[in-house]
């Protein structure tokens, strides 16, 4: 079962997304604190709780975003599932491996999210990748790496499931 700290982590990540992320927005690219939160839960608690956290936290963001309800929920659910593979120790727990894996994970999440969101917006796939997905991924990963410096167990630690 997720501990109180994980529930607080998710609530904190949602609050950060709604209160702090807009302050860090550069050319309408902002870090995705909710993705960081659910990946941290998935890394620590494994896939099942990661999926539940991703689904609920994504849904919460969707309800505030005045857009497609269910989209963040869907993409974050899938991201948490794959993040859980690291939680399940299927990847060697070296910093570079995890950061490399998270880069691919965040990029896949952002491409899926922005591709669905931009349907009807007349933006090409490559524009979505270069203009929106890749910058968001790099920005989010930068924050996750910085958080890892402060709280190493977010990436490295693993509590009993």
């Amino acid at each position: 079962m997720p501990g109180l700290i994980h529930i607080l982590l998710l609530v904190l990540s949602i609050l950060l997304q709604l209160k702090v992320a807009p302050l860090f927005s550069i050319k309408d690219i902002a870090p995705d604190f909710i993705l960081i939160g659910i990946v941290a839960v998935a890394l620590q608690k494994g896939r099942t709780w990661g999926i539940i956290a991703g689904c609920l936290a994504g849904l919460l963001f969707d309800t505030f975003s005045a857009d497609l309800v269910g989209l963040s929920s869907l993409t974050k659910t899938i991201a948490a599932f794959f993040a859980g593979f690291v939680g399940g120790e299927r990847l060697e727990r070296r910093f570079v491996s995890i950061v490399g894996f998270l880069f691919l994970l965040f990029l896949a999440h952002d491409i899926l999210y922005f591709t669905i969101l931009s349907i009807g917006a007349a933006a090409s796939f490559w524009k979505i990748v270069w203009r929106f997905a890749l910058p968001t991924t790099i920005y989010t990963l930068t924050f996750m790496t910085m958080i890892n410096l402060v709280w190493p167990s977010a990436l490295w630690g693993r509590s009993d499931r």
Partner: protein, 267 residues
Amino acid sequence: MRSLNEWVSYRRDLFTLLAAILFSLGLLWSNEGLQIQTIQRWTLSGFGFLLEKVSFLSEMNSLREENEWLRQKNTELMLANSRLKEALNENRRLRELLDFKETSQLDLIPAKVIGKASNSFVNSIILAAGSADSIEKNMAVVTAQGLVGKVFSVTENHATGQLLLDRNFRVSAMTQRSRVNGIVKWREGNRVALAEVPKRSDVAAGDTVITSGQSFFFPGGLLIGKVVSLSESEQSMFMDILVEPAVDFTRLEEVFVIRSRPINPRN
């Protein structure tokens, strides 16, 4: 039966994933449904309260109430000024109608911005005011600088506002100088477009774009922004007009919801 239970238990992750994906897809397919609105109201009520509680972090000065009052007065003056400009233009065009009189009663509800959900395509704000303050869905949201957006969903004490920079936002607009009508919608980044304007219309860079008043929800004369560039292509029937919004969306702290649109007694 036991082996089935063991198999389900073994595949718990996949079943959870499948259930979560089906749940999300179900939500995506029923976006206009009553259930979605109910979920939105619940989360807005719960998290709105929480967001409001942590807002003290951003309140660094003790002159908040005075600031709020000044902002309200400023916005009222801006709207009055905007209405006067509109009235002047109207007067020129309708000079022969000497008895023309417009009673415009814009009632402003102050609302503090307690959160912002934004990314490259989605832009909305969370307001610490709701139906208890007489806010209703689709009411216009403004600041002293101009149009911010509209109310998207409302609970008793909170509301979400869809910004001008949201990909789904549309408002009927016109250029103040030449009265050319179009639809303002988000283009990219911090820019919006004045769309549906036929080629060779009288539009120039620097023209002020305002709400046309043709929309049921937005009073006429609200400042939207200025035309920054325009072009024509052979492939399109319409001009490509880029507008820079008057509002600085990165500094939204306090907004006003317009409770009612201008009332014309002859309508």
